[in-house]
């Protein structure tokens, strides 16, 4: 076998293990060495658990030795964003208020990964409670972009994007509320996939905005994304919003190609407002699709212009209630106070960072008596318009496409003083969460500074098959194979 196993795709690693050319233990060892070489610089992990990972790898190897077919994830080292509960493993959500918190149970998605034989190596860094677009809002310090350590990896699932790009995991789970999987995937040059709302159970995912949150995979290829998706998707009786029907079958049409595919370009998101290099890569990909037999046309979805505003009312409103439980009473940070109320207030004041505090205040205000209709009520009406616009568009096209992020990775600290500039990073990804359908970011090129550019594909709810078919076609046409330069030394 050529090269470092840490750089393998999940499919290639599984094939090598099946052929007896690679053991789960050896693969884990390669990933551990990679993490040792990159972590000091990147800080993509908050928790690493190689002891637990070794046991899981040994179990996978034993099963392989017995000739058992454990499926495509057996023995594959994966990472999980730190807002998914892991039994007995610290789960902080990037917040001081959950420092030292060890959940007594596994999130459903985590339990399904373990059941599929995946080797859980650790928990990845994130913007506090998934609020942010750069992973700079982590109470434990920022994660750096493997392509340029002076730049952010995007967010909020920046740690998960960075470990897959850097090779310190072969795949990872993140969560996407307004683009938190697709935007960092775009900035880190990997595939990031947000499935249809309800396809992956939210049980054990620490909620940011319940009606928008969705768990999904980071991988190096679209096919690997399908593999992780298949492992974690499916009805969960513990999540009342979980979809009860069958999970869309995606495998058989994955390689069907772009010919005959009706592709709609979202006019409101594909023009000015994007950096020239981003727009150029986007246009190049569209031309390639057209050249390969796809029908490409431009569509107008007027509500897209209001989606960002609606999102920044709905998500904070839900978060203001979701984060009320962090009060120092039962778990997490507790600061002293003369009364229960003072204890709660002090714990929350010191436990939450500024962005989380800002959004709780925003949401509390939006839900207050006398303001509810003007803010939350109207935002829900915009959301309905977004859903209607999408439905109208999907009567004419199979998928919609946009640049994932209007810019490539920005510099650390560049936007931290300007929340609005930071919020604009998600302008292209937010409508998909309001609409509920799936979305994916596929890397299609590098800009002049060698930073990755992502191409976003959207599909109607439960349209995973056509989404992944289109994404796979984009991947094949773009032929993006660049990897970040390996870290210079094994510092740390």
């Amino acid at each position: 076998m050529n090269g470092d196993p840490a750089d393998l795709t999940i499919a290639a690693a599984a094939a090598a293990m099946c052929a007896g050319e690679l053991s789960a233990a050896a693969l884990l060892d390669a990933v551990r060495r990679r993490a040792a070489a990159t972590e000091a610089q990147l800080h993509a992990y908050l928790t690493l658990d190689f002891e637990g990972a070794e046991q899981a790898a040994a179990a996978a190897d034993a099963a392989l030795a017995r000739g058992e077919d454990l499926g495509p994830l057996a023995g594959i080292p994966v990472a999980v964003k730190d807002n998914m509960c892991t039994r007995g493993m610290e789960t902080t959500c990037g917040s001081r208020i959950l420092s030292g918190y060890h959940p007594p149970y596994d999130a459903t998605a985590v339990a399904r990964l373990r059941a599929a034989g995946a080797v859980l190596i650790g928990k990845t860094n994130m913007d506090e409670f998934a609020m942010g677009s750069s992973t700079e809002n982590s109470a434990y310090g920022p994660t750096r972009n493997p392509w340029d350590p002076e730049r952010v990896p995007g967010g909020s699932s920046g740690g998960s994007a960075a470990v897959v790009a850097a090779g310190s995991a072969l795949g990872a789970l993140g969560s996407d509320t307004g683009g938190s999987i697709r935007q960092p995937a775009s900035l880190c040059g990997v595939v990031g996939f947000k499935p249809t709302y309800g396809l992956v159970s939210r049980y054990g995912l620490v909620a940011f905005a319940s009606s928008l949150d969705q768990i999904g995979p980071f991988t190096r290829t679209v096919a690997d994304a399908a593999t992780l998706f298949e492992a974690v998707a499916g009805h969960d009786p513990s999540d009342a919003t979980s979809y009860r029907g069958p999970v869309p079958e995606v495998r058989s049409t994955l390689e069907a190609g772009p010919a005959g595919l009706r592709v709609g370009v979202v006019a409101e998101l594909a023009g000015e407002g994007n950096e020239p290099a981003v727009l150029a890569a986007f246009t190049r990909t569209l031309e390639a699709l057209q050249g390969a037999g796809a029908e490409v046309r431009e569509l107008s979805l007027p509500s897209m212009s209001y989606a960002l505003d609606a999102y920044y009312l709905i998500a904070p409103a839900e978060c203001s209630a979701n984060l009320a439980r962090f009060d120092g009473v039962r778990y997490g940070l507790r600061l002293p106070g003369d009364t229960v109320e003072e204890m709660m207030a002090a714990s929350r004041r010191d436990g939450f960072g500024p962005e989380v505090t800002r959004r709780i205040l925003l949401g509390t205000y939006a839900l207050s008596a006398g303001y509810y209709e003007a803010f939350y009520g109207r935002a829900q009406k915009v959301r309905t318009r977004v859903i209607e616009d999408f439905a109208r568009a999907y009567r004419e096209v199979d998928v919609l496409v946009t640049p994932t992020s209007p810019t490539t990775a920005f510099r650390i600290g560049e936007r931290t003083d300007d929340p609005l500039a930071m919020y604009l990073a998600d302008v292209g990804t937010i409508p998909c969460n309001l609409g509920g359908g799936p979305g994916i970011s596929v890397p299609v090129g590098l800009d002049g500074q060698g930073l990755p550019i992502g191409f976003q594909v959207l599909a109607p709810p439960l349209g995973e098959a056509v989404l992944l078919r289109a994404a796979r076609a984009v991947e094949a046409l773009a032929g993006f194979s660049a990897r970040p330069a390996p870290a210079t030394s094994g510092v740390g």
Partner: protein, 480 residues
């Protein structure tokens, strides 16, 4: 000028489902603190609620029994407020789309039947329980707060009446009738002493005949029918002189202090809450299919008012009809006894007398005794046939309740069956009369008190198994 009260009652009832409202934890009273808990009812990060279908059905059943409008689509909302025993710091409740709206409850009062309108019935989750340690037991001065989350997430039904009640007595009668209905529907045992049913009330006072409403005061924390009535009576007596003196009643929330027998003003600042209700995004709306409503409607048992009316038609006194209708298991036992041939009034008398006294003495429920309707019918037949004296029947019933067997069996074993064969009785009388010719002669001469003497002799020779009434009749006949 006279004054009248205008009262509306909010009733909270814990629904007796096996598991809690949004998780699988057991729903039960009296367990060790913090043993019926899980990530969901503790509000751990990432945990999600899953609604209890049985609790929803129970609420709909109550709505159907009250003639309420059942919402085809109902929504749970989050009610946001911070409190140490509220694990998520929001309560999953209902707001503008409750399960049931409208309906009414007919309440028997001293002045006749009053129809009390219902505003709504909705479903929510209960909170945990705080115990404040420290000298006063009051929140502010407490040294520590102990939290028990066993009750957290228990399904709680809220029944809101219209302000249709006009006196504390009526409010109490309404609450009692609602309780009877809830017990009859199997929604809850509604044990007040265990906090399974709790009351808040709105009360204002106005000049009699006035249609305008006075300023209302909300009273919280009444845990029994008696305290509901007492608190309202206190409040009416507090408000009336204020109005008489031309002063204003302040709109506020007051708490009932059971021990002191007074209502006290809450801190108004604390009470002015904005709950910031919004639809619970972790749950989908509840949609009720017509077929389910039909199934629940046809499964409704006979309601207490109908049952009382039926028993009165069978000849029971109003009090007896109420006791039998509402006593746990009494109505079913009476129905079984009547079906087995018992006379309704006689069987009701056994139930309200001997049986109730026995249950009180041994501290058991009717269901835990072996007594059946057939037993009561058998007992009634034995007495009617003169084979068992009233006194002996009580003894037999005690034996049946103690598990000694059916009445005839118990009576035989205890040798309590009276001689009912006319021939045997006549022979015993003849024998005694033959042995006492002098007394017979004096009786014939008019010395009536000798009847008693001769009856006593017959009772002696029959070992007490003759019916003294019939023996006395036989002796009188012989003396003529």
């Amino acid at each position: 000028m006279g004054y009248e009260a205008v009262i509306g009652v909010e009733t909270h009832v814990e629904v007796a489902t096996r598991s809690k409202m949004f998780c699988g934890c057991p729903n039960g009273f009296g367990a060790e603190p913090n043993t019926h808990i899980c990530p969901v009812c503790l509000g751990l990060p990432g945990a999600l609620p899953v609604p209890n279908v049985r609790a929803i059905e129970a609420t709909v059943s109550l709505g159907l029994a009250l003639g309420a409008e059942i919402a085809p689509r109902s929504v749970f909302h989050r009610k946001n407020y911070f409190y140490a025993d509220l694990p998520k710091n929001y309560q999953i409740s209902q707001f503008d789309l409750p399960l049931c709206r409208g309906g009414h409850l007919d309440v028997e009062t001293e002045t006749g039947v009053r129809r009390v309108g219902l505003t709504r019935v909705h479903l929510e989750e209960d909170t945990g329980k705080s115990t404040h340690l420290g000298e006063s037991g009051r929140i502010r001065a407490a040294e520590a707060v102990l939290l028990d989350f066993n009750r957290s997430g228990v399904p709680l039904m809220e029944v809101v009446s219209e302000p249709d009640l006009r006196s504390p007595e009526e409010a109490r009668a309404y609450a009692a009738e609602l309780r009877a209905l809830i017990v009859a529907l199997g929604i809850s045992e509604a044990r007040l002493e265990e906090g399974q049913m709790r009351f808040d009330a709105n009360v204002s006072v106005r000049p009699e005949g006035s249609m305008a409403l006075g300023t209302k005061v909300e009273i919280k924390n009444m845990n029994s029918l008696r305290s509901l009535q007492r608190a309202l009576a206190f409040e009416v007596e507090r408000q009336t002189p204020l109005l008489e003196a031309g002063r204003e009643v302040e709109q506020e929330t007051r708490h009932w202090d059971e021990a002191a027998g007074v209502t006290r003003a809450g801190r108004s600042k604390e009470e002015s809450s904005d709950y910031r209700y919004f639809p619970e995004p972790d749950l989908v709306p509840v949609t009720l299919e017509a077929a389910l409503l039909e199934r629940l409607r046809s499964a409704l048992p006979e309601l207490p008012a109908a049952r009382r009316a039926r028993y009165r038609a069978l000849g029971l006194e109003p009090d007896a009809a109420r006791l039998i209708s509402e006593g746990e298991g009494y109505g079913d036992l009476l129905d079984a006894a009547v079906a087995a041939g018992a006379e309704a009034r006689a069987a009701a008398l056994w139930l309200s007398g001997e049986v109730t006294a026995h249950l009180r003495r041994v501290g058991m429920s009717l269901a835990s005794t072996p007594l059946t309707g057939a037993h009561l019918a058998e007992l009634d037949a034995l007495v009617a046939a003169g084979r068992l004296s009233a006194t002996a029947a009580k003894e037999v019933l005690a034996g049946v309740l103690a598990g000694e067997g059916a009445p005839e069996e118990v009576a035989a074993r205890r040798d309590l069956i009276q001689i009912s064969d006319e021939g045997v009785l006549a022979a015993a009388v003849a024998e005694v009369l033959a042995a006492h010719p002098d007394e017979l002669a004096r009786l014939r001469a008019g010395e009536q008190r000798l009847v008693g003497f001769l009856v006593g002799k017959v009772m002696q020779t029959t070992g007490g198994k003759a019916d003294p009434r019939r023996v006395s009749e036989a002796i009188r006949r012989a003396a003529q």
